[in-house]
């Protein structure tokens, strides 16, 4: 049995607003094993980024409600900020969505790196910077970037630099939040590959790769978790999710993606009608039921529970069997 780096149990994270709670993460269960890349996919507003950010940095107006997120057996949701600070960067780290302005404009990159590693009692001496240079080589960046200000670097360079900096202390778990979304297709492939490389070289223990783009996830993730409106729809290894999805939402999502051998004039793909529900003060029930053609009474009354239908394949749907027999989604 491989050990679990992260084990999330019935986690609830809500945004507090004047009009009530926005239930962005509402009772989700999943785990990540050492050496694994878990992809999290879903549409905008499904809670995937909230989850990624919430795990490392819980900030107002996002509030922790209940449940656990155990990092190496320790529930990090209850930690005081000071204790959590010792875990950040070393045990859990993040490549944020906003790599383009992740740097203060008035500090040189080298100063920035020295400052943040010093916070973790690491002496930023030349030996340490030799390691930094090694990593820069890995992502094909010139060593001179260390003496630059961020404004002197291009977007692609900054993206790679953030990748290097976030993984400098060899974190157990790396959260990659939409790292490829703002990039050109060619850079996408490079960056995505790099995350896999870092894992293979044991620079990072494991990774959560968050994106709205399932096709990228299929390229690099070992397992894929599909989220819908603050709930988990389905978790399985990436081949199963793509080739044999069970949840009606996953099925519809996969079939709406363009494939390299389908042209409109020959065959028409179809999307999903409707829009995701508003998560403000939302009640019980399956949140996909409004757009699901298999929805029945129970879907409106009770939130479907996550169940493991076969080893490593979990989903939350009352009617997946009915949906499963339907080839024609």
């Amino acid at each position: 049995m491989t050990e679990k780096i992260l084990d999330v149990k019935d986690l609830k994270l809500y945004y507090k607003t004047l009009k009530g709670y926005v239930k962005a993460i509402d009772g989700i269960n999943f785990d990540i094993k050492r050496g694994e890349i878990l992809g999290i996919a879903g549409e905008s507003g499904c809670g995937k980024s909230t989850l990624g950010n919430g795990l490392i940095l819980l900030k107002k107006p996002l509030n922790y409600i209940s449940g656990q997120a155990n990092l190496n057996g320790k529930n990090i949701m209850n930690l005081k900020n000071k204790e959590m600070n010792t875990l950040r960067f070393k045990d859990i780290s993040i490549i944020p969505q906003f790599a383009m302005d992740a740097f203060s404009p008035t500090k040189k990159i080298k100063t920035f790196i020295s400052d943040i590693v010093s916070q973790h009692n690491i002496n930023p001496d030349e030996k340490f910077f030799d390691k930094v240079r090694e990593r820069l080589d890995m992502v094909n960046l010139n060593h001179s970037v260390l003496n630059n200000y961020s404004i002197e670097l291009s977007g692609g360079m900054k993206q790679r630099l953030v990748m290097v900096i976030s993984t400098l202390l060899d974190p157990e778990l790396l959260i990659c939040d939409e790292v490829t979304s703002a990039l050109d297709v060619s850079s996408q492939r490079f960056v995505a590959n790099m995350i896999g490389d870092f894992r293979d070289k044991k620079i990072i223990g494991s990774a959560i790769f968050i994106t709205h783009d399932l096709s990228i996830l299929y390229q690099i993730a070992d397992r894929i978790m599909v989220m819908y409106a603050g709930h988990i729809a389905e978790i399985a290894d990436s081949d199963t999710i793509v080739k044999n999805p069970k949840h009606p939402y996953t099925k519809a999502l996969i079939s709406s993606l363009p494939k390299n051998d389908v042209q409109y004039k020959d065959e028409q793909l179809s999307g999903i009608d409707g829009t995701p529900p508003n998560l403000l003060n939302i009640g019980e029930g399956c949140r996909f039921r409004f757009r699901c053609k298999y929805a029945t009474d129970i879907c409106a009354k009770q939130t479907p529970v996550q169940e493991e239908i076969s080893s490593g394949h979990t989903l939350a749907c009352w009617n997946y069997k009915k949906a499963g027999s339907d080839k024609n989604v």
Partner: protein
């Protein structure tokens, strides 16, 4: 970076040119014929006819075409000839101004610099701490809302009249003869406290509010969030935020100079402090137009030079300007 300074310098030269032209044009084209008023005022003075004639031929050259008058004005400007004062007849305007200048510098320079430094420190404290903010902010607002001279009056009333611990009149005691000796310096400082304090306090409010708003903005920026996610202490993040928040405050210093000068004038009037403001008041009361014009030019030159100095400082602290990534002037 040379380009930045060159651009600024051009603006200042044009501004100077514009100001001089204005200074030349206003008495000539204003309704109410100020020049004949001027002539009338000189008639009362003894032995004045010769001086009046020569001064007017030089500065106004009323019998010559306008364009010649204009160039004559520039010429006399460069020879430092700003005319003769009526109120302090027959002193030269340039002489009066240069005598007042020393008092202005000794009063204004420390007040501006210290209020800027202290205001920024306090504002930063206020911006990062909600509790401090709630107590301090109203205080800052009242300070920045009060007219300079009113605040000076308050100080005079409490420290001068009620408590009688500070003198409220002049830059030194009547019995003193200005000179570079301990006695005079102590006396000078004794008189200096209240005017300094009133300028210092009112300016402080404005700087504190500006810094508070900027630091809140910087603390919410993406680079702050990234540093937080990497486990940096609040202290380090504040340091980074402060470093960036100070930039607009430097620009603000340049933009505020005009207002500060106006405030300083009224303060000097309250204390009968022999700076330019006090001179200007006397000039206005005595309709001493040469002196008014001289003061105007002098203020413009001082503010332009100060602006240019601020620009140089700004260039040194903002890498964006240094690498000319920002075309903003």
């Amino acid at each position: 970076m040379g380009k930045y300074l060159r651009k600024k310098l051009i603006i200042y030269l044009i501004t100077f040119f514009f100001a001089v032209t204005l200074d030349w044009a206003i008495p000539r084209f204003m309704p109410g014929d100020p020049i004949s008023m001027l002539l009338a005022r000189f008639n009362g003075l003894e032995n004045s006819s010769d001086i009046v004639r020569s001064t007017f031929t030089k500065s106004f050259g009323l019998d010559q075409p306008l364009i010649t008058q204009y160039f004559g004005f520039w010429k006399s400007l460069f020879t430092g000839d700003l005319g003769i004062s009526i109120y302090l007849y027959p002193k030269k305007v340039s002489e009066i101004i240069s005598q007042a200048l020393i008092y202005d510098i000794l009063l204004l320079l420390p007040a501006i610099l210290l209020s800027w430094i202290v205001g920024n420190k306090l504002g930063a404290r206020s911006g990062v701490n909600k509790k401090v903010d709630n107590i301090m902010m109203p205080f800052f607002y009242v300070l920045t809302s009060s007219p300079y001279f009113w605040f000076a009056v308050l100080l005079v009333f409490f420290f001068g009249v009620k408590l009688q611990i500070f003198p409220v009149n002049g830059a030194y005691s009547n019995i003193m003869i200005p000179g570079f000796n301990i006695q005079f310096i102590l006396d000078f400082l004794y008189h200096w406290v209240l005017p300094f304090l009133s300028l210092f306090m009112v300016m402080l409010g404005g700087w504190a509010i500006g810094m508070r708003n900027m630091i809140i903005y910087e603390m919410g920026s993406n680079y702050s969030k990234y540093m937080e996610s990497l486990g940096s202490s609040e202290k380090l993040i504040r340091k980074y935020a402060f470093r960036n928040a100070i930039l607009p405050q430097v620009t603000g210093l340049a933009l505020q100079l005009g207002t500060i000068v106006a405030g300083a004038f009224t303060t000097e009037i309250v204390f009968s402090y022999p700076g330019i403001g006090y001179i200007l008041l006397k000039a206005l009361l005595n309709q001493d137009y040469f002196l008014i014009q001289g003061c105007f030019l002098f203020i413009v030159i001082c503010v332009l030079v100060a602006n240019f100095l601020v620009d140089i400082v700004y260039m040194l602290i903002d890498p964006r300007v240094r690498f000319s990534f920002s075309g903003e002037v």
